[in-house]
Structures are given as structure tokens and as C-alpha cells.
Amino acid sequence: MRNDKDLRNQGFKDFSETIGTRLSKIVLTIMLSLAWTQAAWAHVEGGQAAGFLTGLQHPWSGLDHVLAMIAVGLWGAQLGSPALWMLPIAFPMMMAVGAMMGLVGIPVPGVEIGIALSAIVLGAMILAEARPKLAIAIAVVGIFAIFHGHAHGTELPEGQSGLLYSMGFVIATGCLHGVGIALGLVHRLPAGKMALRLAGSFIAVMGVVFLWGAFV
């Protein structure tokens, strides 16, 4: 008959082995990613095709944009279906509306403040595990998306394709939502709920920093 101490030791051993296996898998994955071969480029990229890469990179280049996109995914995961997929549909559509407004010359006042507020509000929603009506959640996300689109959707370098830039920009934004949703799946774990709320508080605090930057 095994006593409590043996059982605890066995449990700890199983736990260590599980962690060890997971860790070795993660290390192996990182090693494989480092072995990724790169194409040899004989010429500097430019012209039309570069527009796609510029669009793809742009949303990842600003922390304000990245955090807001991920926050949308996190909040969607926290709210569950149908918000889980309605929010990531509403955001790119309204972001495109904002970008279109910028492109046709319709001004949006306080764009930088709006972007900072998006991080604060979305972060606070995640922190509080707020569950407003679906229409209200979509409206909140949609209004902030206009600011993001107006600020970022119009920054096409000279000589690049607007179409390919748009494609890259929208796809990258959608992928950031996907990252948020994937991270938000931790919500299903008991400790994950707290982790998600902590992430929300981090996003809100960063939003305050962005807001400070917008005023200074």
C-alpha cells in the first residue's frame, strides 16, 4: 500500500515528465522555425508586389494597433458565439470604412485619442468580463475600428499597389484577431479566466500610455 508521500512524489514525477515533454516539443518547434530557409533575393523588392508585404507588415508595426486587434479577439473569445466571430467580421469592415473616409478626405477628429481609447475600453471590457448585448459590442468595436482604419489604412508608400496593400492589410488584421481568439481559448481553463482578465488590464494600462502619448 502506497502512502500519501509516495503518491505525491509520483504525482510530481508525472507532472515533471509532462512539463519536460511539452518543453522539449516547444524547443524542437523553435529549432525547426530557426532552420527555415530564406529565398535569395537578387534585387531589392519594390513596385506593385511590395504593396502586399507592406500591407501585411503594417498592422504589426504599431503596438497600439496590435493590442487593439488582439483585444477584439480576446473579448470575442470571452463572450463566446456569436460575438466570437461577429466582432472579427465587424472590425475589418468598419476599419475599411474608416480607411475609405481617410482616402476620400473625410476628417475624423481625435484619431490618436480614439485609438488609445480603443485599447482602454476593450481592455476594460476584458478585465471586467463585460457581457453587453451583441449589438452594443459590435457598435463599440465598429466605432473604434473607424479610428484604426483612418490612421493606418491610408499609409501606402509611393508606387505600390493599393489593391495588394489593402489585401495584405486586411489579412494581417484578421490574423491578429485570430491570435486574440486563439489566446482567448484559455478562458476555458479555470486559471485562464484570470489570465485573460490580467491581459485585459495590461491592454487597458497600455491604452492609458497611448492616451498620454496622444496628448503630450
Binding site: I89, M93, M95, A96, L103, G153, T154, G162, M167, V170
Partner: protein
């Protein structure tokens, strides 16, 4: 247990993706040309022109979402309408400057995102209009190069693309898979709006 299974399959997928990424890439120092004649030039034209390719994919997704019957209609009507439009494009002198791609992206993307229930008749009209207009633009573009044989290549490619994409979409049964299709539609619509904005800026 469920989460462990999920993590395991996620890990296996990651390994598979990274394995594929290890595949050595070719150094692209020059532009790609088919060099295989006008039919292949037509195929290349469609596959390498996002203004045409994305609306075709969106229309195929929409057809697949509506079911097997609309999928079959699109399979035969779209290449035919495209070909007829292309023949017209070969003989007419230029086309009015309409932002066809932006409008197609927006409308077809919105149809997919909204999962709109169109009647078969209305759906057929949409397919004919999309095929005819894009075909006419292709005809104008191919007038000096691949000509009718280029249009044949495009028609064949359209048939294959619509068959594959719409059949795949019809086969989707899980709710989350259908949601992914709708999300993709919203992306296409967003691209269309952005394109319209860029066109407005370049002309304004």
C-alpha cells in the same frame, strides 16, 4: 482531456507547417513568364491577377454556401459568361473606366459574409454579370497577346477553380468552418472598400 487533445493536434499541425517551411525556396531574380503558349498565358493571367481571382474565389464560396445546385450553376455558367464577355472584349475598343474589381470585391464579399439567401434566378444573374464584365475586361487585356486561346485557358481554369472551391464549401458541415468562410467574405468586402478609396484618391 479535450484541451490536451486540442494542444496535441495544434502541436502536430505546427510541426507539419514548420516542416513545409523547411522546403528550400527558389531564388526569384526575374519575372515569371509561362512561355508555353496562349492557353497557358490565359491560365497565368487569371491566376496571377487578384482583381479577377479573388472575385472568382468569393463567388465560388458563395455558390458553395448556397448548396450543390447553385454550385453546379456557377460551374457551367461562370466560364461561359466569362468567355462570351471575353469575346466581346476582343472586338470592342476599350471599356468605360469603372472600378469593376472594387465593386466585385465588395458585393461578392458582402454576399459571402452575410450568407445571403438568393433565389437561383437572382444567383444566376449575379454569375452572368460577374462573368460577363470580368470576361470583357480580360478580352480587352488579352487582345494584343493571347487572344481567344487565352480566353480558353481562363475558361478552363475557372471551371477547375469553381469546381474545387464550391465543392469544398458544400462539403463543410461544421459550424465553425462555415463561420471561417463568412469571415473570409468580410475580408474580401473590406478589401473592396479600401480599393474604392484608393481609386478615389488616385483620381481625385
Amino acid at each position: 482531456m479535450k484541451i490536451n487533445n486540442y494542444l496535441n493536434s495544434l502541436y502536430k499541425s505546427l510541426i507539419a507547417i514548420f516542416g513545409l517551411l523547411l522546403w528550400p525556396s527558389q531564388a526569384d531574380a526575374h519575372l515569371v513568364t509561362t512561355g508555353l503558349g496562349p492557353v497557358y498565358d490565359g491560365i497565368g493571367h487569371l491566376v496571377l491577377t487578384p482583381e479577377d481571382l479573388v472575385p472568382v474565389l468569393a463567388l465560388s464560396l458563395f455558390a458553395g454556401m448556397r448548396g450543390a445546385e447553385p454550385g453546379r450553376r456557377a460551374l457551367f455558367i461562370l466560364p461561359l459568361a466569362w468567355f462570351v464577355g471575353g469575346l466581346l472584349g476582343l472586338v470592342i475598343e476599350g471599356l468605360p473606366d469603372i472600378p469593376v474589381a472594387a465593386v466585385s470585391f465588395f458585393i461578392l464579399g458582402a454576399l459571402v459574409a452575410a450568407d445571403l439567401k438568393l433565389s437561383n434566378k437572382v444567383f444566376t444573374v449575379v454569375v452572368i454579370v460577374v462573368g460577363g464584365i470580368h470576361g470583357a475586361l480580360n478580352g480587352v487585356a488579352l487582345k494584343e497577346s493571347a487572344g481567344v486561346l487565352g480566353l480558353v485557358g481562363i475558361m478552363v481554369t475557372l471551371f477547375v477553380l469553381v469546381a474545387l472551391v464550391s465543392a469544398f464549401t458544400v462539403s463543410l458541415k461544421k459550424a465553425w468552418a462555415k463561420i471561417i468562410v463568412r469571415v473570409a467574405g468580410s475580408w474580401v468586402a473590406a478589401m473592396g472598400m479600401l480599393m474604392a478609396g484608393w481609386l478615389f484618391r488616385s483620381q481625385g
